[in-house]
Symmetry: D2
Subunit: 359 residues, 4 copies
């Protein structure tokens, strides 16, 4: 188990989906940074189930309590512990699943690793674990603002299956994204996506897609070669989110089809600053930010929970058939958007603080 992330701004999450609660401890947060429980709550509400008719109807209040590290709305420099209690746990909905391994879930691998497993709802492997990450990221954003005002982190759904949104990372705005239940920056595509999601849900099926994220106004110099390169830490952060299968930055996999002459980003002096004319690098060169927009994409597989019968085996080692039931998201992408933003915030905050150890 390794439930800590970050070197200086270090978060440790805890909690099973159907246990007493879910939470996080942040160690290494600088003092005197304003944070309110209300803004943490607001962000948790963004990733919470039951927000619209295209996501799971499980309805948790997900009310956060801050146990330590704050006094009168300001950080103390001491560990910040935050807890969300599980109130809508319905272990019974998962009965039967305890025996048959759900395909493409973590049931079997947790048993293989630990020889034991929380009996219902995915336990630690549930996406509910990300509550702690999202809560911590609100604090991370406040720290970022305090150190380097102006950095903006924004994610959106880039595609659902083959339906691609047309979004310009350099101009898309939060209100565009939040204006539709899919959380994409292209209203026309959003409508098509909603239809697709409703359709596959009605079939008991599910879909995946790609989330894209931009981080704007990052100063040049963040990232620590040779192993903690900025893109390496972003890749790890994103690939630690449940259901992710891929990460790419800048030109990504498509860039492998170009020649160097097409791909290189020429430098020019613009307004007295070193800038690149194009941004196939995605804002990072040699593992270090170059001052351009950081742009990356994360692949999410179709939700593993489907409501049609599937072949599987039981924990007793016998072939079986499993008919899915219970609540589920036919598409996790809309709820993944704030989680991608959260992990990006944790990485940027940590590297901003790490950069301060350079003279």
């Amino acid at each position: 188990m390794s439930s800590s992330f970050g070197r200086v701004f270090r978060v440790t999450t805890f909690g099973e989906s159907h246990g007493a609660g879910i939470g996080v401890v942040i160690d290494g947060c600088p003092p005197r940074v304003p944070v309110s429980v209300e803004e943490v709550q607001r962000e948790l509400d963004r990733r919470r189930p039951g927000q619209s008719d295209i996501v799971t109807t499980r309805n948790e209040a997900d009310a956060v309590e801050i146990l330590s590290g704050l006094h009168e709305g300001v950080t103390l420099g001491t560990p910040i512990a935050m807890v969300v209690r599980n109130t809508d746990a319905r272990p019974s909905a998962y009965e039967g699943m305890a025996q048959a391994y759900r395909p493409s879930h973590a049931d079997f691998t947790y048993d293989a690793k630990y020889g034991i497993r929380a009996p219902s709802g995915g336990g630690r492997a549930s996406a509910r674990e990300t509550i702690g990450r999202v809560a911590a990221a609100v604090v991370a954003r406040r720290v970022i603002e305090a150190i380097q005002p102006g950095i903006g982190i924004l994610a959106w759904v880039r595609s659902i299956q083959d339906i691609a949104a047309s979004v310009d990372p350099s101009t898309v705005r939060a209100e565009d994204i939040e204006s539709n239940p899919v959380r994409t920056g292209d209203a026309a595509a959003a409508a098509v996506m909603v239809d697709r999601i409703k359709q596959v849900r009605s079939e008991g099926n599910s879909v995946g897609g790609v989330v894209e994220c931009v981080i704007r106004h990052v100063p040049a110099g963040l990232g620590e070669p040779v192993f903690d390169k900025l893109e390496a830490d972003l890749a790890k952060a994103m690939m630690s989110i449940p259901a992710t299968k891929g990460f790419e930055i800048g030109s990504g996999f498509a860039g492998t089809r170009m020649t160097g002459r097409e791909h290189n980003d020429p430098f020019r002096m613009i307004d007295g600053k070193v800038r690149t004319v194009s941004n196939r690098s995605g804002g990072v060169q040699g593992g270090i930010s170059n001052g351009e927009d950081i742009v990356f994409r994360v692949a999410f597989k179709p939700t593993a929970t489907i409501l049609t019968p599937q072949q599987t085996v039981t924990s007793a080692g016998e072939d079986a058939e499993l008919a899915g039931k219970g609540r589920h998201d036919a598409c996790v992408l809309p709820r993944a958007v704030p989680i991608v933003e959260a992990m990006a915030a944790l990485v940027i905050c940590d590297h901003l603080l790490r950069q301060r150890t350079i003279l």
Copy 2:
């Protein structure tokens, strides 16, 4: 600077491309594991320049010396330090470059981060740094053999630009891959790739591509949720290699176009073991290996060094034109293959040792 990787099997690399030497220290290597300097040398020769007519002609002996941690061919459990001296450094070949930032290299970002930079040859950002990783990985492979015999790690070039090799990850053999200078598992595609590389080199241009890697016979249970998931650590490892722009595992980005019903891997009991019938998971579920082949792909951008004039700026903040010169690889993919394998070995070795702390 963060030049250490791994939690238990921990490697720290050091060295600039044109300084006195390049090397690595391994801390946390178990004792009584047989390792010979000859096998380290053999693997370094695989990633060395000057092996064939499609890679850079820089010809370094890259002779490794083991300074500590071994006695009579067996590890002591103490830190293993290995050094390769730089013998073919030609600072003069890089003169002029010290002033103009090479586009899509790390010259500008190193200056932005550190306010200083090794004056020639890429310094720490040079791919020469990976010598330490490759040397350490030889030791990692011996440890893996000692703990879990039978694990095999094999990488190959999957594509160069639009030229895709047809390779079956479950059956491809090392001798197939090493039989051609491109290091791919498809002889027909190899010939086309060689032609393409020679052509772009003759034009002073460069190309990129995708390396694919399989790790076979990994036991179920490796990987540490929620942050040190196996795919997250693999992603970080790969994205820390110079020139990488993307990582995907199993179905990857293509999997986002499928539905859950198509994508899920059904379980079946086969020969008394829990197996999946398909492997869109890529050998990892919930961040933990499931016993199937681990299959992932890494995107490498076209080499940034090209020999045609490019727009850039100088460290003095003036627009300039840079005409590349010096030795360079028109395509790094063949030499990237052993580096991808090396990073995979470091991740697997570390997680095998970490798993031993589980009762």
Copy 3:
């Protein structure tokens, strides 16, 4: 702020003395280890205020709740979060103190470091923080039992000021120590110590002393040179406890007066095992346990809180006089005993798990 301890069995504590709660998260605990909330509670009761008439009368229930990581009395291998809510916080008792720095407390240094400070009761610097350590140590003891049955950790008060108890580390029993309110293994000395503590308390003064600890039946081989030597990690663990000023192992400072001939521990084969005839090494040689009893001592300064007027300065930078008030321990030693044991358990548990990564 660095509130994490341990490499494999890693605890992170959180909480201020007068905030919402105090707690701990354990990451890296092996699965399938039996732990009950009752035994955690029992150990917290040992270090709790208000147990006898020689310690502070602050009376907190200190009721622990386990939020995660356990299912039906067994660890899951996932993070274990435990919280104790602060119920008897009386901020008013500390009013006035917010302005004048209490001498030999951490008020001034926290302000110097963070530029902010929890306003009452010591905040993070309060010994109340050790609740998290003690709770985690109960889990650590269960892990130790599961891996290496028979290890025993026992601490006692060795001296209060000049009053020295006569205790044989190799034979003293828990019931001897718990039979008196001072927690020493010498009933006669205990009586004298109680009188001394009552006397200084009646004078509004305080005393310190030395706690001694033995760890029995540790297998040879624990400890990781060259920096994480067993005695080095024990020293750090003990010196992280509030009010400590010194640590020594085996012969300690007194051993510096001997010659090598007197000091060396001869080896002999006894019952087929390599044993030392004497134990001036204190159970550790070259940073690694040698199978003998590990014996060390920790110096605790007299409690900084006294009830007589003292010279000090205010946070506004003016000389002032401070007359202490509020509840306080005239002697922390009895309550320090379980904390010393707790930190010893954390170190041993961590090193037992680390040793498993050695082939």
Copy 4:
């Protein structure tokens, strides 16, 4: 094996006493700090054998080479690797010892831990390993100067057996200490100490003692509660030095005999700064420096190598007698002085850099 120390300024040492070489890699050193190989060499010469007639006559040149991380006398921000080759290794002098465990050395415990051991000269447990620490500390001192000019670190021999030097930590100067072969600040005591050391050496015996160290002009605010308190990290650093048995800071063990009224350090405003009138805290309160002199003491046991016959056992498990031979220090204290200073420099440098992550 854990051969790394420090969180931000992180050193990793390597090397066995009779292998190819000894060295260190520093990761996390800030860029643009001037360091010369000559000053590293000068400090290594201080801890080198063969400097005077009271230490071992083993005569190694101990010539250091810097392999990376420096360019034209300035740090690059990249890892700094330094190596000293072993030139005077005489494995034959240690023959026979490979079989019989030397009492109070690490021979037996290394075998117990690793099941293998470098065959001669103490291997990794040799004090020769500290070469890497001393070399790294020279760089640490330059970083300290660059960040916080004026900090001074000075250690000396406080006692040899019962011979105590009279030294005032607040006024003693480097030249006083270096003026005598014992490295103490009291010329009269030095003469008595030299006689004692010569006498015990002539008897084939050995002695121990106490080293004291002062760190002056440390700003208030260094140290990271609750586990990485400044005294906790100093304690760990010192207890990781070979042959140490105890650590105390400020009033230390003697302070346990005082009452709180006697022990507390009153605050006063002096020259516009918050100061303490006395310094029983030893410069640290609540784990954080308070701006006063940091004063601590380290107990060194008598050298384990003696030249008279001792009872022991062999690695084959048979009782035996061992007659010491070879070169040895009858008293390590003079050579321990620069090592204590080195470890203090590593701790202060690391915490200075860590403090920069506080806003």
